[in-house]
Amino acid sequence: MNLDALYQEIILDHYKSPHGQGLQPDFTGEAFHVNTSCGDEVTVRVMVADGTIKEMTHDGVGCSISRASASVLHDLTDKQESNKFYELLDEFVELMHSQGKTEPNEDVLGDAAAFAGVSKYPARVKCALLPWMAMKDAMEGNTDE
């Protein structure tokens, strides 16, 4: 079924067993985002110090795409340099706006490459981006740099 391009195994696995879910009490930045067209919600917390994301956690309600996206984002950024998040963000946003025409760079994006199929479904692009946009705000809310 054509749907399998959207719901890749990796996505459904992250949805079922999300990583980094559950907000940690210590953080330097936090942001809550909601997709007004559907009501999906996510909160992202980051603890940043010395240019490094010491911890990234999230919580929320939403569809498989938005929840899996948060889980993948945790894997990609937790304990990584802050810069890496911004590089990934650019790459991921570009992929999401490619309408299925760009091959994802798996070396950079890792599990996030599995979201390539989402870009063909304009209504779902926002779902995939939701945690990324929340994390961006959380990073900027951070005063520790």
């Binding site: 079924m1 009501g39 569809c63």
Partner: protein, 423 residues
């Protein structure tokens, strides 16, 4: 049970032949959001533009006369369709505008009254007054009232909804300080058909203005607004086979004559000077500027189309389809149906949750099978919170849906949980 109606009418709806995602034939189960349009409606609009397009009520040429006559005939026809007089019918762009019109006219009455215009005393809202809504209202029949409550000092109260999606009506709620009661005829989430006659009885006993959201009833149930005894009723054309961009507002004589206007500009005035303006006293008071003439004429064609079939037949057809779907969903493992399980108080739509699968994923799965339903909170977010649902999936039926489509829908729903590996 026979489902002949759909087969008879489908040839009139060109979009129903469409092939959608994955090469599937379209199964359109989203008519509660917006209905599809028969050729009769599409052609009526096109014919208007090709033959008589002109501004109405103000042109002294033949096209203007023809356009004015067509517009007023449409008003007659649509008013007849809902058991109202043409003089009580106002055209808007959608139901949302109609409900806002009433809310803002009350706000204007309040402010003008506070400015010394005593004739509006009867419609002025003051601290201590109550606007009574229900927990199942669409945002369009909730947010405007919250807004004017905030600005006038009136309070908002709610008629509660039971766990199985029925209004918990009790006469105690209808206190003497209730000035406005705004209620949906049929819930666009639960499918529940409310007992408007009973509510009107309570409302009239305390002299409150009863405002009806008729969006989900006028297109689907035989409706006689005069018999319903409401002060106002709003609905949208696009949900009853009509064009987008047109809605209807019924105002009783009381509100029509008594409320001040809402939108201000051409046509609605009686006299304008540099200093001040006076307004018409008939339904024109509420129709400012160049109206949606072609859409009104298209909507009239839709009313004629539905009348010729008969709303009772449409309703019966929908009840048949809904009963079939409801019975199956209630028995399907991992499915929670919102709203009453009793068909007798239900219209032609069903909202449901699939355990472990978010509604967007449900609708995406169905879409991959060509089945169009809607997922989300359906502009009734507080109701979803009340029922403990993040959001829901909704299938809705209309005269053109077939029994086979319902079967396709049920088959697809039954596969969802295993696709998403939660069963």
């Amino acid at each position: 049970m026979s489902f002949d109606l759909a087969n008879k009418v489908r040839p009139d709806f060109p979009i129903l032949d469409r092939i959608v995602r994955g090469g599937n034939a379209l199964v359109y189960l989203d008519s509660a959001a917006t209905s599809q349009k028969p050729n009769q409606v599409i052609d009526a609009e096109a014919q208007y533009y090709r033959e008589i397009n002109a501004t109405i009520h103000r042109s002294g040429h033949e096209l203007g006369e023809l356009a004015s006559a067509a517009y007023e005939e449409a008003r007659q026809n649509i008013a007849g369709f809902v058991g109202a007089k043409a003089q009580n019918l106002i055209f808007t762009k959608n139901a949302t505008e109609g409900l806002n019109l009433v809310a803002y006219a009350f706000l204007n009455a309040t402010l003008m009254h506070r400015n010394g215009q005593t004739k509006y005393a009867q419609y002025a809202l003051n601290p201590g007054d109550v606007i009574l809504l229900t927990e199942m209202e669409h945002h369009a029949n909730m947010v405007p009232w919250q807004h004017i409550a905030q600005l006038t000092g009136a309070a908002i109260k709610y008629i509660p909804v039971s766990d199985d999606g029925v209004l918990e009506l009790s006469e105690d709620l209808f206190t003497n300080n209730c000035k406005i009661i705004a209620v949906t005829h049929q819930s666009n989430v639960l499918g529940t058909i409310n007992d408007v006659a009973k509510i009107a009885e309570y409302a009239n006993a305390i002299g409150a203005h009863l405002i009806l959201d008729a969006c989900q009833s006028v297109p689907h149930l035989p409706t006689n607004l005069e018999n319903l005894n409401v002060a106002a009723a709003a609905w949208s054309g696009h949900k009853m086979l009509g064009p987008t961009g047109v809605g209807c507002l019924f105002l009783s004589d009381d509100l029509l004559l008594g409320l001040p206007p809402f939108l201000l500009g051409g046509n609605m005035i009686e006299n304008v000077t540099f200093e001040k303006s006076t307004y018409r006293s008939d339904n024109g008071k509420f129709e400012a500027g160049t109206m949606n003439i072609a859409q009104v004429i298209g909507l009239s064609a839709a009313a004629t189309y539905l009348s010729e079939i008969g709303l009772d037949r449409v309703h019966q057809h929908e009840v048949g389809l809904t009963r079939k779907a409801l019975t199956a969903l209630l028995e399907m493992p991992g499915i929670r149906v919102l709203g009453p399980s009793e068909m007798s108080i239900r219209g032609g739509l069903i909202s449901f949750e699939v355990n472990g699968v978010h509604p967007h994923d449900v609708s995406q799965y169905l879409d991959a099978n060509g089945i169009a339903i809607r997922a989300g909170h359906h502009c009734a977010w507080p109701l979803h919170r009340r029922l403990g649902a993040v959001a829901s999936s909704r299938a809705s039926f209309y005269l053109y849906n077939t029994e086979a489509e319902v079967e396709q829908f049920l088959a697809a729903v039954s596969e969802i949980r295993s696709y998403f590996k939660v069963a």
